[in-house]
Amino acid sequence: MSTQNNPHTNRKALSDRRWLILARPLIIIIALIATWQLLVIVTGAPKYMLPPPADVWHTLIARHAVLFDHAKYTIAETVIGLFAGAALGTLAAIPMALFSPVRFWLMPILLVSQAIPFFALAPLLVLWLGFGLASKIAMAALIIFFPVTVAFFDGLSRTETGWLDLARTMGASRWRLLTHIRLPAALPAFASGFRVATAVAPIGAVIGEWVGSSHGLGYLMLHANARVQIDMVFACLLILCAFSITQYFIVDRVLRAALPWQPDSLKPVR
């Protein structure tokens, strides 16, 4: 139901909130950096184990060309993997929801695929698909596939029964029922799965790079680690973090904008 607050208190709350929306990430970042610095001081860890924030910042600036060159690869692998995995998940979920034989055969295979630790698959994928982008995209897509499939399948199999009854009395065709009721009704569930997938997608790409590659932040981290350039490792991690968070927020925003009718009890007052 719509909120019916007093418009004046509403406007005041809104301006307060806007200030907080801008300030909150800054406060969090500053707090995290301060904790990091405090940890360096308290533990007295040497620079080759835990570099202070200032050193990492310096490396970020000084080596930005190298860092961004490698980041390009990781970002491309993650984004392509995300869409490939989501597309595969969608292609699996729809027939599973529509045809019970498909469901009975595919579900065990899906579960088996998740029982294999994907870390163990990485060397095989590199062996089969090579050192290039393909093996990392496959890795990211594999990780993403499962949450998207399960969430979307779940959404598709929970269509409000009243809508199905109504559609039946209206003489709906099976295809129209799918495209006009079951699919849209399952989109919020798909969006949940896609959000989870967005958060885990970079993991797949980085693991793939660790196992075998000549580009990417994972590759760079591995080599910097071997040469005890820990500030470089941290710089890579920071870029990965920044990318993951940015990607998540873009996806979240797009999904919200695409599904404005979705019930959301946490939605802030606009």
Binding site: M1, S2, E160, G162, W163, D165, H180, P260, W261, Q262
Partner: protein, 261 residues
């Protein structure tokens, strides 16, 4: 909220002309008969109400007519014009069943969209005006009040333009004033159609129904119809209606109140 001043004077141009006879109907869930050997005739163009306590099977009986009951089912439905009933009913439930991603207007034309037909938006707008939702056509269901949602559902039901309308407690989630307004509206716009309405409210049944059946017991038995006089929507303050309400409550198993006996 709109009042019924804007309500339609919708004369039914094509009243329903066939009776529907349900014979030897039986429905069982998990081996237990909800009802068996049940006969019910819906007379052409008349408003039949099924009244009964929760869980007695009145919704199941209505869904039987809609062809929505699956599993352990037997019995026959025949129409006096010898055409099958399938595809000639419109269904309206207690929940509005509006799709939250479609606007009110797009919800009203849903049937045509689902059947791959060209939606008649002009007729849909006209019907929305008739149920008092002209200004809400482009809103999403979440922006409507409970009464407005049920009006939209009524417009969607009318849009189907079927000779038979099955309504499963369509007004029970509304506040009393809205319920009265919607009953009035339904009585006007559904005149001439064969209507089966399920309700647990005796006054609603007497206000709208030409024939009111009480369902009781397990397996469910159908009591003989009570036939309130006059044209619906009837005045609920009418002493005769109040007496019949007492009679219905008696059939439902309540103690007869002293004044009405």
């Amino acid at each position: 909220m709109r009042s019924t001043e804007h309500a339609p004077q919708m004369a039914q141009d094509n009243p329903t002309r066939f009776d529907i006879a349900l014979r030897a109907a039986r429905v069982a869930f998990n081996g237990v008969d909800i009802f068996h050997d049940l006969d019910l005739t819906l007379q052409a163009g008349s408003f039949t109400c099924l009244l009964g306590p929760s869980g007695v099977g009145k919704s199941t009986l209505l869904r039987y007519f809609a062809g929505l009951v699956e599993g352990d089912v037997s019995g026959t439905i025949t129409c006096s014009d010898n055409i099958a009933l399938t595809g000639r009913v419109a269904y309206m439930a207690q929940q509005d069943l509006l799709l939250p991603w479609r606007s009110v207007l797009e919800n009203v034309v849903l049937g045509a969209v689902l059947r791959h037909e060209k939606p008649d938006y002009e007729k849909a707008s006209h019907l929305l005006t008739e149920v008092g939702l002209r200004d809400a056509a482009n809103l999403r269901p979440a922006e409507l009040s409970g009464g407005m949602k049920q009006r939209a559902a009524l417009a969607r039901t009318l849009m189907e333009d079927r000779p038979v309308v099955l309504m499963d407690e369509p007004f029970s989630a509304l506040d009393p004033l809205n319920r009265l307004r919607l009953q009035e509206l339904a009585a006007q716009v559904l005149r001439g159609k064969t209507v089966l309405l399920v309700t647990h409210d005796p006054l609603e049944a007497l206000r709208l129904g030409d024939r009111v059946h009480v369902l009781t017991g397990s397996p469910t038995q159908l009591q003989d119809a009570i036939t309130p006089k006059g044209q619906s929507p009837r005045n609920i303050a009418d002493p005769e209606i109040l007496a019949q309400q007492a009679e219905l409550l008696g059939q439902l198993g309540a103690e007869r109140s002293e004044g009405a006996a």
